[in-house]
């Protein structure tokens, strides 16, 4: 899944996702991507988040909505993302998944669930501080 959060110059937030889903899925299966609050969520009064990974598991936790609510309560975006991953970890320790978060002041972060073969998550960031869209990486928790 491509998940994206855009915070405009005035702090307006938009988010989106696009995916072709799980490979060899049962026909009719839909994952988290098109579900608001699961695949992504945007609220210009708090921030935005987007998720990627095993949608069958992640959608049950509305991770993007949850991350935005953590940021609304003042959590740093990276912490908000980590708290969402931790929440899912309690129920499904070996799930494959990652979340990106950004708040209305332009702070951003990401988090992922560490499993064999997936210990780091790469994501892209663009901002006035970066000369061009830049690949960044976070260690999974």
């Amino acid at each position: 899944t491509i998940g994206m959060v855009v915070i405009g110059g005035s702090g307006a937030v938009a988010s989106g996702t696009s995916t072709n889903g799980a490979t060899h899925k049962i026909p009719g299966r839909v994952g988290d991507s098109p579900i608001a609050g699961a695949g992504s969520y945007a609220d210009s009064t708090a921030g935005g988040a987007a998720a990627t990974g095993d949608g069958d598991i992640m959608m049950r936790f509305l991770p993007s909505y949850q991350a935005v609510e953590y940021m609304r309560m003042g959590a740093d975006p990276a912490v908000a993302c980590q708290k969402v991953i931790s929440r899912i970890q309690k129920y499904v320790p070996k799930f494959f998944g990652a979340v990106i978060c950004a708040n209305t002041t332009g702070s951003y972060g990401a988090a992922c669930n560490k499993i064999p073969g997936f210990t780091q998550f790469h994501f892209m960031v663009s901002s006035p501080f970066l000369s061009q869209p830049t690949e960044q990486v976070v260690d999974c928790i």
Binding site: I2, M4, H24, M124, S126
Partner: protein
């Protein structure tokens, strides 16, 4: 980074990130940036997990899911299980602009897309077809079935509910299922 504007996106999909940033720099809205950025990934077929020609289902067909959300108005447009239309996030944007709904699914979503002017196309490519045929040739492994007969970890089916599955058998079957890291949203 605490300065605005900011664009953050999953994975190292550079084309998508550059497109979104360029749309913002050229005065486009945040929604425009999300639509064009994610839409670029549909064109690029980013790592095979976005866009046409990837992740075939059990009948070999590629279907698309997408959403777009406006944080100012809390409006959402989304499509799921979209068939025969490539620009899923473009259609999702049209759901916001031309309907009072939020989510349209399946072949009916495709008919809405055609009415909005999107072309009706085949989303299967040689690559997705060969993925599908390879999967058929390896007894349809891995798959998303459980607790069915015949044993879904050994054969293609068609599957049905067994009359009775003992808890021990269920435990054994679920332990055998192998996580496929390449298969995700």
């Amino acid at each position: 980074a605490t300065a605005l504007p900011v664009v953050i996106s999953t994975w190292a999909f550079r084309g998508a990130a550059e497109t979104a940033w360029r749309v913002l720099q050229l005065g486009g809205s945040e929604l425009d940036a999300v639509e064009k950025g994610c839409g670029q990934c549909e064109i690029d077929q980013c790592d095979g997990s976005v866009g046409y020609g990837g992740s075939p289902d059990e009948s070999g067909e590629t279907t698309l899911d997408a959403m777009i959300m406006d944080g100012n108005t809390m409006e959402v447009g989304a499509v799921a299980d979209l068939r025969h239309v490539k620009n899923a996030i473009g259609v999702a944007r049209k759901v916001i602009e031309y309907t009072k709904h939020t989510l349209l699914v399946g072949e009916s979503a495709s008919l809405f897309a055609v009415r909005m002017g999107f072309p009706y196309e085949d989303l299967t490519t040689q690559k997705s077809l060969s993925m599908y045929l390879k999967w058929l040739n390896q007894s349809c492994q891995p798959n998303y079935w459980k607790n069915v007969v015949p044993d879904s970890s050994k054969s293609c089916g068609p599957y049905k509910r067994p009359e009775k599955v003992t808890p021990e058998e269920e435990q054994l079957i679920s332990q055998r299922s192998v996580q496929n890291l390449q298969s995700h949203d």
